[in-house]
Symmetry: D2
Subunit: 383 residues, 4 copies
């Protein structure tokens, strides 16, 4: 049985919408049944046709989508709604979808502001519906393995965390050209108060908290607008303190010319350390003071149930970004289905980012930007 | 418009059938409409149900599938049939499908014997239908880039080719246990005259000919059965001569304990060399005698139209094995569709392995095994 | 003609003294003629004997060494004195050596305090003697290449610098055992006000300023004592501002369990970026927004005169840490010899760290520790 | 106490002579006291002066060197003679040196022919002197570790060996220019019957036998002269059989354009495999079918006494080619000294290549060239 999926945003030319659709298709857990792909009616229709939808289920607004779908018989009606619009159009459709009985998948960062995030948290709770936030990198099998190994005490108490997300694509003033991605991501009216920190800093932040199981408590940030004329930060670094006393460093930049998307995390504890980076996503390096380094690999028979549950191919056949993304969709589907069947989803199935991660991500944005403007060294991480 | 896809083989528990289905889904060019997933009727039905097929289009044999589908109206009838059975059940269903008007996707090695392959070549020609053989590794963007760079003369005339496919999974007598994959792949009645040489040696051979654009003309092979009790080769190496005078070395083994699937090719010409290997599939290394090495990357704006056509995500978001596989399916679909629309598919779209590659692959198997048994050093590569 | 070399410190069991001696031997520019290897007379003698010195030129103190050597005929007298004692015994012997007419090689960090460093700067100037500080990593050919490429504008104006020095060897309370290296390096009476920041933070700082040609102007540091009972910092991170407006991040830690000595630098400018790390010391990666990455290699015929001058073996025969160290000694020798011959040493020969680097390194220590204690975010980098 | 070292060959402009001298200096076990650096008297003198030798111990021929040195008092006379001439001038000076009571270090390949090698074996035996052949790559700590791990059964019985030595420097007809290295190495009158197979094929062969502890028993070779006009092979590949039934592949080429000197070995046994390559010389990768890969590192506290004995610096400070070479010199010196002191050298000290390795290396050359010319597949490895 496939879940009936609808999409808000993601019309022709959009980047992340296409990624969401591939991710939803890979494991055959969803069937795309409707969408409001663009506020431009023609564009929305054209996008829907290309996707093979019947014309009557292609809408021009999320409100129309929700209203019309609600009128459909329960066994035809959309069940899960994916929202892949720019940040300023996250909260309203998510709230509407949840309040009208639909499960929601939402792209990150979760909302336009922390206030919206906290409001959405209440909406989710009140709705009783399920909610998934697409922090892709936590979908990688070896990222899940890292979390499980740390949880099992393999490294001892955690002392140091380095997390980084280097990009170079905004090294020049792309938003001056007709670059759709650059334009909205550097526009405070669409992205919110942060640029790089919102777009990729939140990924780094989420990765650090997910892998370590710790929470950031203090931030000291250096936030920069490097490219002249840009309206939002395109570079930043933050010193971090965690709730167990560990410290860390987070960097996120979009002006590291030549860098692609090599998001990377390193964590060190009393007994050893580990490293994962996206450019070798199927390897997880463990290191020790007294024995050889180990390289754990996606597909290895020795990996945890969490890693194996999120692996499709035999070791050595690399799984990539789309499979990591698909893991979020698949786990969310399995959890939704378990609910429909009145069962409890397994821990592995429930291991996808949700509303808590979204609230903390938005708090990260507000705190890191506040710290960047402050003369004081440490800013308390408040929500 | 999606192409209607049927599948022969690939029931529950099969490895490669699931891979084919994911590959067909990723780009949304196909809709699975029917299947004969197993010769066991119950198992076939169960598999079909899990895949969401209507029960009346789940068959228990390829003959039934072809017969029944032919009776359906043209706009409902399956258009492309994927055959994912063990080698001994390739020729008959492929021939039947083609002769009854269906396009065919066939897993490698193409047939049980070279004789069958040559016969199938005639069948394809006579049918006027399209045919795709799933040599996955040629679907990687950076493998395509390698081919294009060599074709453009970037390395000068080719002098040396090293290609290897190391696996370790058959290091022990797995077929003695109840291991389905190991059992049929080491069974001469199902795999044919070759084990490792057929299963992965053909991939290496195909990769070498695809990337260089050359043809092997002579072989000198050392073929081994390493694990006691095994019935087919699990290891081999071959010295090669190519039609331009270049020489090469091909190795394929399933007893390199600890190796996963790091298929790798290195090619050297008068002016430089290149290297690609699956464990870093999105990089292509070019090296020169007089300037720095270069690392070309999937998604790079500087890559060829062939690489870019086969890339979905921005550089640095790794695409893997399933995307490479999907590229075969997508290109085949685009070529089929162009035909349906009376258009010529582009060179990029037509760049998928076909019947010629299949015949040469089967010739490789027969020649390499013959060479392995010969006391003479060089065996002419004959078809 | 070999320069006559003397050594202060570096008796049996010392680590860095042995490294200095190998470095001095590799290129045959020095002959070790005398030493005061230990304040323990017997140990000093024993060390000298093992090194093949004549007994009358093995001394028990640096004062004795200087006094006695001065009495020797000019053509027998030591010419260059290497000082390889712990930090608290740097200034006095260096001052005495310089003021008595000897050239000096000194291990880093230069002195016990910034005040001493500034005093030593005056001593050097007044003495007219030459001075070398052994910041080893700037001796690597590919680090020199990085500097030259940036100087030539290959990356455009520099915007971002990441430099890191991760170690794990002080993850436990080694100084509680009888570990000589750990004991003095964590002892404020011997190391000064800083532990990790002095021992390896100065290397990272020096590397950043050397490669970029920029100067740090502001620091915001998080300085930690992680291992209970330790008296000096064993971990730290600092946000940096440079004199051209670029920003950076420096991390240095000795509690990253499992890390060896993979010092690493990444620099990004308007047009591209570069990366060098010690674990692949003979490679320098250049990356661009619009063309393939390049890997420049030690020994490449295309490298600069600076890289080639510091390379001994054909490309692909790795040169390592000892060769990098030897490059400092060799360049210093060539510069000393040029002076003896009344010639100007070449730019390549003069490219070794000296008194300026030492003063700035000590200023780094004082500023980074002050910042670590401050509630203010930014500390001006003052000397 | 330093051993008194003399050198035959290695005058100004020679490559390998300078490498030998650095190797001999690094560990301070030798003092260069005399040499016959060139058959050109002036060049020999000039070379000697540059090396700081007294003029009366710089000779113009090896016969003069041996004759004159024999007349010196025993405590001044040279003790170890290094011979670094082209291959055709190996046997005579080595024989003369041994027969006159000197220990010998000889560059590889050992002699001009196998006949000479077998003769030299007798000379060594009769002389009672010690003999070292400089197969550099066996001097790397991680190569030694590989041997020890295999010896200890870590991989189980060995089944497959891949060894390769790819170079690109002879991709063009360098010997047509005034390139000294290229000229003698491609000249049958100086190199013998083999080019690439003698120069680097012997290294690969030696590495395979050293690491595995096995002996090659059969060869099937493809030997090529790729560059037009060249007189000796510049490329080759050989299928191998070992005395325990294992098989292997050896490749050595000098026309792999863009390759440096990345000699590499991979060995697989019943339980796992290992890989070492020179471009990451301080790492040794172990892989298993049932647990994570391990990366063993030079300097790791967990490494064998053989690895640790051949390591100078803490882990992470890379040791390279010159240190590997120095390990041969150092171990030979320690063995010579033990003899002088009437003691037995340790197993670690005696672990350097000697006359047996030299005879087998020359047999490899003759067998592989014979196989290359043969129509028969397998050539017995005969000595």
């Amino acid at each position: 049985m496939k879940l009936r999926l609808g999409m808000i945003g993601g019309g022709q030319g959009a980047f992340i919408g296409a990624v969401h659709r591939i991710a939803a298709r890979i494991d055959d857990e969803y069937e795309l049944v409707c969408g409001a792909f663009s506020s431009n009616a023609e564009k929305s229709k054209a996008s829907g046709v290309l996707l093979g939808l019947s014309a009557d289920r292609v809408y021009t607004s999320y409100t129309e989508l929700i209203e019309k779908e609600k009128q459909l018989p329960e066994d035809q009606r959309v069940q899960v709604i994916s929202i892949v619009t720019p940040n300023h159009v996250h909260f309203d459709p998510a709230k509407a979808a949840l309040e009208n009985g639909f499960h929601v998948v939402l792209d990150k960062p979760m909302t336009f502001s922390l206030a919206e995030a906290k409001e959405l948290e209440k909406v989710v709770a009140a709705s009783g519906k399920l909610f998934c936030l697409t922090h892709t990198y936590t979908g990688y099998p070896m990222v899940k393995e890292a979390k499980q190994l740390i949880k099992a005490g393999k490294l001892g108490a955690i002392r140091k965390v380095y997390v980084e997300y280097p990009q170079g694509w905004l090294s020049s003033f792309l938003e001056g050209d007709d670059n759709k991605q650059a334009s909205w991501r550097t526009d405070p009216g669409k992205s919110g108060i942060a640029g790089a920190m919102g777009d990729i800093g939140t990924h780094a932040f989420n990765l650090a908290e997910y892998v370590t199981g710790l929470e950031v408590t203090q931030i000291c940030a250096d936030i920069n607008v490097v490219v002249p004329g840009r309206k939002l930060d395109d570079d930043g670094a933050a010193l971090l303190k965690f709730n167990n006393g560990a410290s860390g460093v987070l960097t996120a930049t979009q002006i590291a010319a030549g860098e692609e998307n090599n998001v990377k995390i390193r964590v060190y504890g009393e007994k050893g350390g580990l490293e994962w980076h996206q450019s070798d996503a199927n390897s997880l390096t463990l290191m020790y003071t007294d024995k050889p380094m180990e390289v754990w690999r996606t597909g290895g028979g020795y990996t945890s149930s969490f890693a194996q549950h999120n692996t499709r191919t035999p070791a050595g056949h690399p799984e990539g970004y789309l499979e990591a993304f698909a893991n979020l969709y698949r786990n969310f589907a399995l959890t939704v289905k378990a609910g429909l069947e009145g069962k409890e989803a397994t821990a592995e199935e429930q291991d996808y980012p949700g509303i808590q991660e979204g609230v903390r991500g938005m708090a990260f944005i507000e705190n890191v930007i506040a710290s960047g403007k402050s003369d004081k060294k440490w800013t308390e991480f408040t929500i």
